[in-house]
Symmetry: C2
Subunit: 221 residues, 2 copies
DNA sequence: CCGCGCTGAAGCGTATACATAAGTGGGGGA
DNA sequence: TCCCCCACTTATGTATACGCTTCAGCGCGG
């Protein structure tokens, strides 16, 4: 694999996982030494991170991991609303019902996974990610998909910040189920509205979760 | 200005203006010689163009100016629909009425500009761009704005491809006017629907215009 | 005492040199 | 004569070196 690609993925993972906390400075030489590659691929990686919005230029000379304030989370969800409602609408119009029928089964089984500990949780998230993938494929719109991908990057950060609340995840599964049913039925309007509802609930939970975490005195997971 | 920045802007302009036609290969050495800079800044410029979607990797070794097929134009408008409706909604909620009142005046005067030849046309487009800017500012959502900016890049290509039809531009001005009025009135729903209508009409015109151009035997403007 | 300017250093942007991989053309063998 | 393999060419990926910009700290002048 290309060194620039490895550097990018490594840095991205670390930012998403919170290893590199918001506000951390990303200097070329430092990261080049740390990652064991030269500055040129690091430069490319940092440029991509900035384009992704995961890093922000604090001044002309210093790049840092971008903050994840409640305000920016709200902004993220406003963007996701726009994109995911449209994606759901298009998917409902253009979907292959068979592919979503399979997802319907998996999602129906999903809540039970949450009793299976860490392994089950991973399978649960795999199912949710598979739903994203199927919707992407069904929209048949590369531009929309690429915008969605960018938004999901940031969602991954939020997901990690919010506590994994089994109760919330069970509710989320049933919200997802409704979206899938709407898509299978070819009901674009319902698919869009169900997506809206899901995002609304998800945002509400994320904000509450982060607020409670902060009042815990910034406890680190 | 930085060499990589100049290279990027130069290449972007040439792609948007059609100087570099879709399908043209973008080789590092060739462009470096042509633009009078070294390969490194060209590399960065090409990476940005690819991230923008203005260039596509045809194979592992060859990057080329991306195609602008009717299908991709439809996809672009589906994305813009999602983004601009949401932006209009948010702008209607958060706007400063005074700033849009000024735009309302300028847009009312816009149709007359179209009789003033090239200079007037430029002023007309400046007004439309100002509307975009005001909406961006009013949404108060950096993520949404950055997604919009990316979509507008591609719109600029489409705009150039479509013939400048005064009749269509006059209609577009009145569509914009309705959007502005809705924003001033704080009517989020109307702002979104008016944006949808505008995009629908704009897409219809763009597709018809391109089709007629192609049946002209690919006449170059 | 405050503000402007200088000087040093550190980091970034660019160029160039080198390594590597892929594609192509030619030659040899079947 | 055709096909396959090897070598060469070319372009990309990576590393390093150099020069310039910028920022911080200190000193001098008002």
């Amino acid at each position: 694999m290309r060194a620039s690609e490895r550097a990018y993925q490594e840095l991205r993972e670390e930012i998403l996982d919170g290893v590199l906390a918001p506000g951390t400075a990303l200097a070329e030489v430092e990261q080049a030494n740390r990652l064991g590659v030269s500055r040129t691929p690091v430069r490319e990686a940092l440029a991509r991170l900035e384009a992704d919005g995961l890093a922000t230029a604090a001044s002309a000379r210093v790049l840092q991991v971008s903050e994840l304030s409640p305000a920016s989370i709200v902004a993220l969800y406003e963007l996701r609303e726009a994109l995911e409602e449209q994606a759901a609408r298009l998917a409902a119009t253009r979907r292959d019902p068979a592919r979503f029928a399979e997802l319907h089964e998996r999602l129906t089984a999903a809540p039970q996974l949450l009793d299976d500990g860490d392994e089950g949780l991973r399978t649960y998230y795999d199912t949710v990610d598979a739903l994203d993938g199927e919707i992407d494929a069904a929209t048949a719109n590369p531009m929309l998909v690429s915008a969605l991908r960018s938004a999901r990057l940031h969602s991954a950060r939020v997901r990690r910040l919010a506590r994994h609340n089994p109760e919330r995840l069970r509710a989320a599964a049933s919200e997802h189920l409704l979206i899938v049913e709407a898509i299978i039925a070819g009901d674009a309007s319902l698919a869009a509205h169900a997506s809206h509802v899901h995002l609304h609930m998800s945002l509400r939970h994320a904000l509450a979760s982060i607020e409670s975490r902060q009042s815990d005195g910034h406890r680190v997971a």
